[in-house]
Symmetry: C2
DNA sequence: AGGGGCAATGCAACCGGTTACATGGCGACG
DNA sequence: CGTCGCCATGTAACCGGTTGCATTGCCCCT
């Protein structure tokens, strides 16, 4: 591979001049520039970005650290990030912590010197622990994580009120026994959603004690919960799953058992993954504009990179929207909402 | 940020010794090593991967260049790649060409010096053109692209025979008028699938001329095709879409028009994206193990990086499997297959 | 006690660019 | 016609590590 030295020699100039010509800096005569560019073409020279970023102290790359890459949730986030990053000519370096807290530290560390900024989504990490691993000198925005005491800007989803609203809606719709399928124990989103559910139940339906089944955000967990529901003879006329994937698994399993959704039992999810529109009946859910989560975070990061100082105070909290579809359809209540939202439903903006 | 020099000074040793201690090379006394590691801890030193990779001539990163990031197809590929990459401690640098051929060149160029190898998916690029942009010194594996004259290893899907088989199956099943929804004009996958369709029609159903509707792999294109079908009064009892997303859009639109799938018209797709199982009725499709596409390519790339020489000859062609589900269900034909494949359907391996 | 050998450590070049500063040639000015 | 200043170009230091080779110091041997 040709280096800048090679180009300079070929063109009969010094490396400094070659560098200036290539980067279009001023102070280079026409003929000189042409000679250099000719040499570039002849030798097929491509600048070595690694070396370049060493001196420029700028890599034009941002690191994205996600807990996993499975499912539409993460791919939508990446797409959202990429959308904005690409406009600014930034590259994305993917780091996958594969669910392990220990690997998170390694992932963050290995990014040093490779990236100009970091987008981190640490859904089941304690803030104190996280703080120890983040480099305060590296612009960082947290994804889907309220940093709490940390002064790190974040983009989060109002999981609590979203879950509260959904629970409320199910009760409004006439549900008497709402069962919640929880997410992973240490996952902060899952916990906030569960809190929202519990609080809504407590406030609105005091007499009914909330039933919570364990889950882990996977489709299988939703199926398992449905089986528990059926076999365990749990009296339930509505299921609120902590995410869409579990809701989908649940619907699927209920269907196989001959239980009709929504006639026998209503089902609701959270996230509005693209799949939600396509299952049958279509899944009612709290819509989080997932790609927005990514693009908003990326935009904040760009501002940080431009030198603005953003503290935790500048964080964004996205409010999820209730999208009522078939799984909670019926003669009254949610059904009415259902008619009102097709535009939003189609990602109208 | 602390540098190696700082650590060395703090520990009272030379940078060389500090470097050796940190990297666990031999030739360092116990006490010396301890002093260095203590300094590392004290100064919170994290090695600068950029600088490191400059001397080591190794970045532990591989570049992934995809035409887009939209939809499950790409996210599955990335997941497959990551799975293997992560095991080998490799990072992924994402380059998105956003559909533009021109950007492909830029994307490839900007990877120089950042990555040890490249995984490229250039679905609508001519081989000659591609050849001009690839760096022969950089280990590269092509994704879903038969390099033809180029001596570059690739992982591809046997689109032609897959489409042939699916068309055959639809005709077997009793379809008389099969309509094909094509993919983007310049997309090689799409063209191979179309060829497979046309050839199968020609061989098996000579008397019926194949009808081909335009498409671009998007859900909307599928809807549009369905509308054409309905309004245009095209006589059709089966639709074979060039990919699943279009098939899904088509089903959706047919349903809204009150046309029953599969009773009035059968529908089939290609790819077997996760969504395919979930639409209703479930979509019959040619299953491509999409994540396998990524992981296989990544494994080949790792072999290249280990120094093995793999030419185009060592390429892998994945054969898609027919998965019959509800959209082609009926009393005979595909329905029988349908019973036989649930294991494969669940990604049993 | 002196010399040889080996392991631990230091020095300095190097990876491939960028850039501050030095240099030198030229035209414009008095 | 001599001098000043500007602009194109060159020299070399630097980014932050790694590593080949030189050096040092210790132990062991004769």
């Amino acid at each position: 591979m040709a280096t800048l030295r090679d180009v300079a020699r070929e063109a009969g100039v010094s490396v400094a001049t070659a560098s200036r010509a290539i980067n279009g800096l001023g102070n280079v005569t026409g003929p000189t520039r042409d000679a250099v560019l000719a040499a570039v073409k002849k030798l097929n020279f491509v600048p070595h970005s690694g070396a370049r970023s060493l001196t420029r102290r700028k890599t034009d790359t941002i690191g994205v650290i996600l807990p996993d890459l499975f499912g539409e949730f993460f791919s939508e986030i990446i797409r959202g990030i990429d959308l904005v990053a690409h406009e600014s000519g930034m590259h994305l370096l993917l780091g996958n912590m594969h669910g392990s807290t220990h690997e998170t530290a390694a992932a963050i560390a290995s990014m040093r010197g490779r990236v100009d900024g970091l987008l981190v989504m640490p859904p089941d990490m304690k803030p104190e622990l996280l703080a120890g691993h983040l480099d305060p000198a590296l612009p960082t925005v947290l994804l889907n994580y309220d940093a709490g005491p940390l002064d790190v800007p974040f983009v989060a989803v109002d999981n609590y009120h979203g879950a509260y609203a959904m629970t409320e809606a199910l009760l409004d719709r006439g549900a008497r026994q709402v069962v919640h399928i929880a997410g992973p124990k240490h996952n902060r989103d899952a916990r906030d959603r569960q809190r929202g559910f519990v609080d809504a139940m407590a406030k609105i339906a005091k007499e009914r004690s909330p039933v919570i089944l364990p889950g882990d955000f996977s489709e299988e967990a939703g199926e398992e919960a449905a089986r528990l529901l059926i076999q365990g003879q749990l009296p339930a006329d509505a299921v609120f799953a902590s995410n869409d994937l579990m809701a989908v698994g649940c619907i699927q399993q209920l269907g196989e058992a001959g239980i009709s959704v929504p006639r026998d039992v209503m089902v609701a999810g959270f996230d509005d993954i693209p799949l939600a529109r396509h299952v049958s009946p279509a899944l009612s859910t709290m819509q989080v504009k997932i790609d927005r989560l990514g693009s908003t975070a990326m935009m904040m990061l760009l501002r940080l990179l431009r030198g603005e100082t953003l503290g935790a105070a500048s964080s964004t909290v996205l409010t999820p929207t209730l999208i009522a579809r078939g799984t909670t359809a019926g003669p009254v209540g949610l059904a009415a909402v259902s008619k009102a939202v097709p535009a939003a439903d189609r990602d109208s903006d």
